[in-house]
Each structure stands twice: as structure tokens, then as C-alpha cells.
């Protein structure tokens, strides 16, 4: 045993010949010397770490409440000015999305932007100097790392009641895409698979941290293997999301907001000319699901089918029937229309032309 350790030590010692390593080693030596007392403090203060992290967690309330659809989810602050990262879901399909801060403050939230591919959304509330996670300082975790999961699962916490906290271990960092098709998700990147029951109803959008309270992941929506009926407990690494979050905050992926008086082409597309009939528009923001397709129409030729959900038109997010109809009025009839469609678990890109 000790021989093996010595052997390993010799190998590593050769590295110490480099000056930078020597400095690092000196640092490390200090760290080791200080370690016992430091660790002692860390162990006794899990409750303190939880208490420091709770103020960054928010409870989100919006649409839903129908059978199997909870009207709440979780989120966390990612800027002092009130940016909130959460998952993109029907809960946000509401005229009013309400956020409860940890201290019980109730604020209306604006859906700043969303990315249907990674299924995340960024909300914005009014605020200054709010406690928040800095995504740039997110930690990347390996299998075996101990973690904490913060969320308002089951909607247990109301008002100023703190979110629920679970403890667990990262079982693996793996590719959700490997099982694409078995899961109803658009997300195709890596995910932390967790050994704790983190992904309960309402938990989506919650924060995964390491045991020091440093942000590591976003708790995903409830996913279940259609093959085995097993519910997954997982989180999406912040590293996968940070560039998208930056883009959303920078203004991309925003629902189309045209400037007043922006010129429209004289002959533009309409739903009727494309041959698309959407579902009846009875909600403030009815998701643009396709009800039917006129046979022989550009839409039929382009491959659109009933029950498709239109996500993007020429790269712009269209989150409601109205926005979709509006967006088409900005596209000249001579130009093609690029649509990104959600069809069951898959995203499909299609192009429609009006043939002369």
C-alpha cells in the first residue's frame, strides 16, 4: 500500500521541477495545513450554505392547473437586476407570470426570451442588488460529486417559505441525446444524472449546486423513459446553457417585437395563403399549434402537419398565434418562409414557398 503511494508520489514529484508547479505546490501545502479546520467549518455549516443559497431561489407561478399540469415551477436569480433562469414550459404561457422571492416579495415577471431547443427561458423582474448566482462562475461537476438541489417541488413552499432542499450525488454526466426519442425533450446536450429525487412536479427550473452552494446546473423538466416508465432525475449543466442565456439577455430569442411603423412588404405572406389553419385563438397567448392544412397548399407541400407547434419564423420566436400571424406580414410573398416546428419530441426545420 505505502509502496504504491510512494511510487505515485515519485511520479508526481517529477512535475515539481517546473517552477509554476512548485508555487502551486506551496499553495497547496498551505491549503493542506489549513484543511482540517477549514473542513470542520464546512461540515458544520451545510445549513448555513443552504441559508445563503435560498435567497437566490424563486417560486414561479403562471398558467396551468389543469389535470397533471401544475401552475408553478422553480427558477433562480442570475443577476442583481432581476434576471431569472428557468425552464421553458406552459407555465410561462400566461399573461401574468408571478415570481415570489425567498423573502416573500411578489413581483410580476416579463418573459425576456426563450430558447425552445434547450427549453430554457429568462425572466426579468424589477430589482437591484438582488442575491444571485453568477453563471460565469458555475462549477462543472464529475460523477460522484455531492450536490444540493433547490426547488419548489410540489409547490410546497408558498410566499416567504423557503424552497425545498434535497441532497445527493451526481451519478453520471452523460448525453441525454443518446436516448433521443425515448424522452419527450428537445434538449440534446449533456446532463447530470442525479441519485436524489430532484425532478418532482414543480421542481423544473430549480438550482443544482455543489455542497458549497456554487451553481452547477438547472433542474430539468419531468422526463420519463417511455420504454421503462422510469422518471429521470437530472440537471442540465450551466456550461451548456450559459452561451444561450447570454444570447437571450443580449436580445436574441426574444419574441418578435417590431419597431413601430416598420415597413411591411406590400404583398406579404398570410396564414391563409400558406394554407395553415391554427387552433382557435382564445387565450391571451395561445401557443401556435396547427389545426389543419389545406391540401395542395404551400404548407402541405412543405411538409407541415396538424398538431405541429410553430416555434420560430425566420429565426424569430413566435410564442402565440397572434405573433405568428404578425410575423408573416413582414415577409415578402416572394421570399421563402423558414419555420421551426416542434413535432412530438422532435424539432423540425421546414421551408415554405409560394409557387408562382
Amino acid at each position: 500500500m505505502s509502496e504504491r503511494i510512494l511510487g505515485r508520489a515519485k511520479r508526481w514529484l517529477s512535475l515539481l521541477r517546473q517552477p509554476s508547479c512548485l508555487i502551486a505546490a506551496l499553495f497547496a501545502l498551505c491549503a493542506v495545513t489549513l484543511f482540517p479546520s477549514g473542513r470542520c467549518a464546512a461540515q458544520s455549516s451545510l445549513s448555513e450554505i443552504v441559508a445563503q443559497t435560498q435567497p437566490k431561489i424563486v417560486k414561479i407561478f403562471g398558467a396551468g392547473g389543469l389535470r397533471g399540469l401544475e401552475a408553478y415551477q422553480s427558477g433562480f436569480l442570475i443577476s442583481g437586476e432581476g434576471h431569472i433562469l428557468t425552464v421553458l414550459s406552459y407555465v410561462l404561457d400566461s399573461d401574468v407570470v408571478t415570481v415570489y422571492l425567498n423573502d416573500g416579495h411578489k413581483l410580476p415577471a416579463e418573459v425576456l426570451g426563450m430558447d425552445p431547443r434547450s427549453e430554457i427561458a429568462v425572466l426579468k423582474i424589477d430589482g437591484q442588488n438582488l442575491p444571485h448566482f453568477n453563471l460565469a462562475e458555475a462549477v462543472a461537476l464529475d460523477g460522484g460529486t455531492k450536490v444540493l438541489a433547490f426547488s419548489n417541488m410540489f409547490g410546497i413552499a408558498l410566499g416567504n417559505e423557503p424552497a425545498s432542499v434535497l441532497h445527493g450525488v451526481v451519478a453520471a454526466k452523460t448525453d441525454l441525446a443518446a436516448r433521443r426519442g425515448a424522452f419527450e425533450t428537445n434538449y440534446r446536450g449533456r446532463a447530470y444524472i442525479l441519485d436524489a429525487m430532484t425532478n418532482n412536479p414543480g421542481a423544473a427550473g430549480g438550482a443544482l449546486t455543489d455542497r458549497r452552494g456554487r451553481i452547477a446546473g438547472l433542474l430539468g423538466k419531468e422526463l420519463r423513459s417511455s420504454a421503462s416508465n422510469i422518471w429521470l432525475n437530472y440537471a442540465i449543466p450551466i456550461g451548456e446553457l450559459e452561451p444561450i442565456v447570454d444570447q437571450i439577455i443580449a436580445g436574441k430569442f426574444r419574441p418578435a417585437k417590431r419597431e413601430e411603423g416598420q415597413k411591411k412588404p406590400k404583398d406579404h405572406h398570410t396564414l391563409a395563403t400558406l394554407g395553415i389553419q391554427l387552433v382557435p385563438d382564445f387565450l391571451p397567448r395561445t401557443p401556435p399549434f396547427v389545426e389543419s392544412i389545406k391540401s395542395g397548399s404551400p404548407a402541405a407541400k412543405g411538409g407541415i402537419r396538424p398538431d405541429d407547434l410553430v416555434l420560430f419564423v425566420n429565426g424569430r420566436v413566435v410564442s402565440s398565434c397572434k405573433l405568428l400571424a404578425d410575423e408573416l406580414t413582414f415577409i415578402d410573398r416572394l421570399d421563402p418562409v423558414h419555420l421551426t416546428i416542434q413535432r412530438g419530441p422532435e424539432l423540425v426545420d421546414l421551408e415554405l414557398h409560394i409557387e408562382p
Binding site: 503511494i5 505546490a25 493542506v32 407561478f61 396551468g64 410540489f154 410546497i156 410566499g159 416508465n229
Partner: protein
């Protein structure tokens, strides 16, 4: 990046060298490991596996006193009836009898027999529990403990002061502890310990929703502080009820909690609480949400007086409010005899469920009851019998049978008699009043007001007070005899003598209530409830001295009681009698009686005029 990894490599290297040089594992880790082992060992010895219905059901429990008093869930004890068998980690199977139940709070007290040196769990202060604290559950999940060896599941505290609304008609978990330690069917009634192995709660519930009846990371434990409040009442063998303030609250403006409804017949109303008043604190705890209010309400048994601070017209008022029962007594019995409604569980065991119907849920809404399931280890549950009645044809050994006395309205009347007699014999050890059955003549004064002379007898009593002279005819309804000045003082004194002279067996209906706090008494006081004529008496005994500390006479539940607070006990012919009595009526101090002379006639004949 490279430098970073080199640092960690160096760290690993040096740690390794250091460890190789000293010990294999750092001392602090070994110490932490030893502490955890010790905590679990200490805790496991106190855990109980409850077997009901000849082993077809059951759950868990925990012993809290050397003579075998054990906590479990009501829904674990209920199917067993009055008698059950309990296994412990020592490998032995003990007989146990039901003592008292709290159906609303889902707590039952049982008593294990056969030892007076049971290993007992230490009850911690569960208000000290913080989110993120390590904790562990010990119990009998899936009824695995056929060898009586309990299962330990480790986790953290996920939430504190959680409010979980009634499931079905009765159960309500208030101010409970949420944990991610696995709580599964069969863990019900078992203990939740903190990292040092002290008892912080009784596990009994979980959020399960669509993932079937197994743990999904959300278990709830009834806080041990709530149970401490109920324990004295549970020992009474009664069916203990939870309380209501007689008022409901709702979120008001600027984060205040306001009275949204109030009964004019409630004690809270008589103490000045009105519609729209702001609740500042309740039970000593600041109130900032309706759930916070319900949490406090849920931790007190019916009948306790609880401090309340409220703001009325901008002015803050402090008072203490007597809590009334959530259920009428008949209602509670009826609910108990009925099978609780099945929560929409599909037959055939756990399988994914599509969810539940309902209205959109918003903050401030009452949480929905349908999402909680009781991990009671039984599927389907047998129709529960009324406690106090024996279930099925279970052979009850004679030692246990001696401790079972069925009576309607009680879980086990044996323990009520036991405590009633304990309290009474502590009192009469200071002097036997049965031999002083003649008229009692007390002379003294109402401090600062004037002379008082009172003669108390079996059928009539009379008194001369500064407010006037009174005669009381005990054959009439006492609510017509509330002098002087509506205080009810003479009637209360009349009943006080009658109680002392006749004793609990002969006085009428006398029941041991349990324990409750009382001003000036350090620990909780013993309370007897007695009824005679149209009056209900609350008799409060100081457990330290055994003396009667106070008597409250209630002739109308919607009106204030006449309360006598006794002190300055001195010897009168070999019997201890109070020479000072503070007379309270509602918020008013009616006066302070000071007796200069007390004469007790030994038989009615001697005092015949």
C-alpha cells in the same frame, strides 16, 4: 486550466504524503464517523416496529420513557385497536396497549409492557432544526423488520415549519419537518432523529403524487415540539382534539395577516379580537403568513390558553386566548368510526398517475389535500375500529387486558382513571376532605373593598360581600346564580367545596384532561375537567406541590369563566387550604380574597341551624 489541475494534483499528492506519513484517514473523518455510528446506535435501540392485525399491517414507533410510553402515528395504531405487539432492536417482542390518540395530528401514544428500563429517545428542541441539517429516520419501511431490526435512512432537513393541509377529513400536518431521508410505507410513526441521535419528529406522511406509493424525496415528520404540547393530553387516554381560535385569517395589505372572519361566541372575540385586526404574534411566534398562523394553531391541543398579540385600530394588544376544539365531540367520534375516504389511489399498487384535477394553484391558496399519501404500509386499509374497542379476535394477554378499559369517547379509559386518581391522591395526601362534609365558613375580606363572609354547604351556600348579600340554591341552574356582580364567585366557591368534599368519583363526571401551561407554574400543570349542574369546572393542579392552583367555572361556553387562583396554602385542622384567592372574570380582576378564618364542620348535622 492546466495550472488549476496541477494545483489539484499537487494537493492530492501532498495530502497523500501527509496521510501516508500519519494515518490512513484524517482524524476528523474518523471522529465524524464514530459520532455518526454512536448517534445511530443510540437511536436505533429506542425504535419500535409496530405490528397490527396479526402482522398484516403496522408501522414504526419510538420509546420516550423508561416505563414504555411510545409514540407512533394514529393511522398506525388505529387498525390495531387497543392491543398490539411491538418489536425492538433487542430482538424481543413486547405487548403494548393504546394510551391516547390525536387523530387530527396523526399521533398515538401507546405503552409497551414488561420493563421499566426501556431505552428511551431524548426529545430535542425541534424549533432549533435548520434546513440543511443532517437527520435520519429509523423504522420499519415496507414492514421489513420481521427480525425487529430497524432500517436507518439518512438525509437532510429539506424544509421546516411546513404546513400540510388535512388529507380527507381529519389529518392535518402543521409546522412539520420536511426531509429527503427516505420515508416509505411502514416508516409511519417512526422517529426522525437529528445528527446527534436526538428525537426531532415522528415520520408520517409524504408527497407522492404520480410516482406511486414510494418515497420521492419528500417525507414529513410531525415536530417533536408539537408532540410535547400534546403529550400530557395523550397520557389521559382521551381522544385529543386540535384547536381553533374561532377566527380565520387571510393575507392583508402590505404583508400583514388579518382576521377575515370571527365568531362572536369565541374567546378571541371576548378578548377583543375583531374582523380586520392584524395578527402580530401567536403562541409566541411572529405571524407573517396565513400558513404561519395555521402552523401555530396546529401545535396546541384544544383547551390550551395561548398568547396572542394583535393590532386593533393601530394599537397593539397582548392577551391569552383559550382555544376551542376543531371538532364537536360527537363529530370526532363519528369521523373516527367512519372509514377515511380513499385518496384516489389506483388499484394494483404503484404506477404512474396522470396527476390530479383542480383549479390553478396560486400563492396564498390553500394547498390541495390530494397530493399527500400516508405511508401506512397497508393497501387496502381495513375498516378502522373505534379506538377502545378490540379489533378482531386477537388474544390479549391478561397483563395487557388489565390496562385496557374501553369507554366511548376515550382511546383507553384505564389511563384516564389512572391519572385522575394520581392527581387526586396527591391532593388528598395533604388532607382528606371527605371527613369535612359539613358547612364551611370562611371569613375575611376582599382586599381594599370590604369584609366577606361565606358559608358553603351541600344544597345551599350564602355569602355576604361588599356588593351585597347572596343566597345560592344548588338545586337551581347555576347560571342563574352568578353573584356577586355577575362574577360567579359564590357559585365557584360552592362547587370548589363540593369537589373537595365529594372527590372525583362522587362529584359527577370528572375526567383527567391532561396537562396545560398555567401562569406561575413552571412545568405543565395537571388539569381535571368536572361537570355538575350546568357548570363545567377546570381544575388546575400544581404538579410540584400537588395542590389545587386554580378553578375555572364555565356556565356558558360563549361567556367568560369565573376563575379562582388559589395561593397561601395553610393548615386548617390537618388540611391544607388556600388563604388567598384571586378572582378573575375575563380580563378583569374581580378582587383578591383573603381569608382570616376558615372553619370546616365535619358533618352536615353539626352545622344545622
Amino acid at each position: 486550466m492546466t495550472r488549476c489541475s496541477l494545483v489539484s494534483i499537487a494537493l492530492v499528492l501532498l495530502t497523500t504524503l501527509r496521510l501516508a506519513a500519519e494515518t490512513e484517514v484524517p482524524k476528523i473523518v474518523l471522529e465524524a464517523e464514530q459520532a455518526r455510528i454512536a448517534a445511530i446506535q443510540k437511536a436505533v435501540r429506542t425504535a419500535v416496529a409496530v405490528f397490527a392485525n396479526e402482522g398484516n399491517g403496522g408501522g414504526s414507533g419510538v420509546v420516550i420513557s423508561p416505563d414504555g410510553y411510545t409514540l407512533t402515528n394514529f393511522h398506525v395504531a388505529q387498525p390495531a385497536g387497543s392491543y398490539m405487539k411491538c418489536g425492538m432492536a433487542d430482538g424481543r417482542l413486547y405487548d403494548a396497549v393504546i394510551v391516547g390518540i390525536d387523530p387530527t395530528g396523526d399521533v398515538a401514544l401507546i405503552k409497551l409492557l414488561g420493563r421499566d428500563d426501556f431505552p428511551t429517545a431524548v426529545m430535542a428542541d425541534s424549533d432549533d432544526v435548520k434546513i440543511g441539517d443532517w437527520c435520519f429516520a429509523v423504522g420499519n419501511p415496507f414492514l421489513l423488520a420481521t427480525d425487529f431490526q430497524p432500517t436507518v435512512t439518512f438525509g437532510i432537513v429539506s424544509g421546516t415549519h411546513r404546513y400540510q393541509p388535512p388529507a380527507g377529513t381529519l389529518l392535518e400536518y402543521t409546522d412539520c419537518i420536511q426531509t429527503d431521508a427516505a420515508i416509505n410505507p411502514g416508516n409511519s410513526g417512526g422517529p426522525l432523529f437529528n445528527a446527534s441521535g436526538d428525537l426531532i419528529g415522528i415520520n408520517g406522511r409524504g408527497s407522492f403524487e404520480k410516482r406511486g406509493r414510494v418515497n420521492v424525496g419528500v417525507g414529513y415528520a410531525i415536530s417533536i415540539n408539537q408532540i410535547k404540547n400534546f403529550l400530557g393530553c395523550l397520557k389521559s387516554g382521551r381522544i385529543v382534539d386540535h384547536a381553533t381560535l374561532g377566527a380565520t385569517v387571510a393575507m392583508g395589505e402590505r404583508g400583514s395577516v388579518r382576521v377575515s372572519n370571527i365568531l362572536e361566541s369565541s374567546d378571541a372575540f371576548r378578548r377583543g379580537l375583531r374582523y380586520e385586526d392584524e395578527i402580530v404574534s401567536f403562541g409566541g411566534r411572529g405571524i407573517d403568513t396565513p400558513n404561519g398562523f395555521k402552523n401555530v394553531l396546529g401545535i396546541f391541543p384544544k383547551g390550551w390558553r395561548v398568547p396572542l398579540v394583535f393590532r386593533h385600530d393601530g394599537r397593539e394588544h397582548s392577551t391569552a386566548v383559550r382555544l376551542t376544539g376543531v371538532h364537536a365531540e360527537e363529530e370526532l367520534l363519528q369521523l373516527l368510526s367512519r372509514r377515511p375516504p380513499r385518496e384516489e389511489e389506483p388499484p394494483g399498487g404503484p404506477r404512474p398517475r396522470p396527476g390530479r384535477p383542480g383549479e390553478p394553484r396560486r400563492p396564498g391558496d390553500e394547498p390541495r389535500p390530494s397530493e399527500e399519501r400516508r405511508p401506512d404500509g397497508q393497501e387496502p386499509r381495513p375498516t378502522p375500529p373505534i379506538p377502545g374497542q378490540r379489533h378482531k379476535e386477537v388474544e390479549v394477554p391478561p397483563e395487557a387486558q388489565k390496562l385496557i378499559k374501553p369507554r366511548t369517547g376515550f382511546a383507553n379509559y384505564y389511563f384516564n382513571e389512572l391519572n385522575r386518581d394520581r392527581v387526586w391522591s396527591a391532593l388528598t395526601s395533604k388532607g382528606d376532605f371527605t371527613a369535612a362534609a359539613g358547612r364551611w365558613k370562611l371569613t375575611g375580606e376582599l382586599a381594599g373593598v370590604g369584609k366577606v363572609e361565606v358559608t358553603l354547604g351541600d344544597e345551599t351556600s350564602s355569602g355576604s360581600f361588599p356588593q351585597g348579600t347572596l343566597k345560592l340554591d344548588a338545586t337551581q341552574d347555576l347560571d342563574q346564580e352568578l353573584g356577586p356582580s355577575g362574577s360567579g364567585l359564590l357559585a365557584a366557591l360552592h362547587l370548589w367545596r363540593a369537589m373537595l368534599v365529594s372527590g372525583p368519583q362522587k362529584f359527577g363526571e370528572v375526567v383527567y384532561y391532561g396537562t396545560a401551561p398555567y401562569p406561575g407554574i413552571e412545568s405543565q400543570a395537571d388539569v381535571l375537567l368536572a361537570t355538575r349542574n350546568v357548570a363545567e369546572l377546570h381544575l388546575t393542579f400544581d404538579p410540584a406541590s400537588g395542590q389545587l392552583a386554580a378553578l375555572e367555572m364555565i356556565v356558558d361556553p360563549a361567556a367568560d369563566a369565573c376563575e379562582l387562583r388559589f395561593s397561601d396554602y395553610r393548615d386548617v385542622g390537618g388540611r391544607q387550604l388556600p388563604h388567598a384567592i384571586e378572582v378573575h372574570h375575563g380580563d378583569d380582576l374581580f378582587g383578591q380574597l383573603q381569608w382570616k378564618q376558615i372553619e370546616l364542620a365535619s358533618s352536615p348535622e353539626e352545622q344545622k341551624p
